[in-house]
Subunit: 201 residues, 2 copies
Amino acid sequence: MKNVITISREFGSGGRTIGKMVAEALGYKFYDSELINEVVKESGISREFVEKYDEYATHKNSILFSIAVNAGGDGYNGLSIANRVQIAQINVIKQLAEEGNCVIIGRGADYILRDRDDCLNVFIRADMQFKARRVLEAYGETDVKIEKRLTDKDARRRVFYRSFSMREWGALENYHLMLDSGAIGLENCAEIIAKVAKLDN
Amino acid sequence: MKNVITISREFGSGGRTIGKMVAEALGYKFYDSELINEVVKESGISREFVEKYDEYATHKNSILFSIAVNAGGDGYNGLSIANRVQIAQINVIKQLAEEGNCVIIGRGADYILRDRDDCLNVFIRADMQFKARRVLEAYGETDVKIEKRLTDKDARRRVFYRSFSMREWGALENYHLMLDSGAIGLENCAEIIAKVAKLDN
């Protein structure tokens, strides 16, 4: 049985919805934007900034920041607010994993928790057409073409992930399971993840 | 229900074994090295050469060959034996897919059959330790370090795949499902694949 399930997801793929279903099936806590509350509590930084810097790359390729984070990074001195939000989020994710029985969406949790052996790391993708339909249904049209909205958002997630992990978002060696939610269906994806989470090994 | 299941696999991950279990569960035909017989029949080229050039990159980045293959590529005139083997293999894979109800291991089948909508494309990976143990059990020690044997073989598969597809082997947008066989277990992987293959959508 895996204590922690991390779900990385392409924008529009339904990763959040799948994660909610998995959490329900397993009786686990669920953290997506819910993490923001925890980060506000942990850091004392105002909600406005925590929301602004959620999954936000503070620099495109900050080796220094990555070293600081990976060295423990409890000292907030001299760091920008964006960096402090990110460090607080990392600490929160580590605490939640320690408490166990949770599903965490995005935020590089697969990397942050890489030293634990009780995590199941999942990536959810889908083809452009499927994601476009879902995003248009949920958020409607804007002046920006839907394909650009999808690729821009994923590009930001990719840059955010790389900014502190030095790994590639979506590179399959980072995950135990990757599912195409368009081809497989959201409920089937959730069922497979819950089944794999329950395995002994 | 998917008619064709393609399984790409890291060396040592157990993709072949998983594929056999899936074929058995679904009552499908199974093609891994079995493809060699079919290619010998199709091409009239001797078994010796067909074996030699199985999953063998004829050139690292042959745009011309890729264009020839993707344009249909029935004319063998002026092509090397290696290229003729590869074209015959592509034709065989297309025929087998047309006959349906089969599991095909490797050989870029996911790319070759990309225009069909009745394929389930799977990638099997595992961590180095798991793969090393399996390969040592199956083939024993050699003078070459096991890590190098694993990475060299996968590098050859990567180059082979790129040589005619111009896509990246193991890039997750090419697959519907990726499973870590070390974390999930071979039998569980086979069960998940068979389950997904049976879905309506």
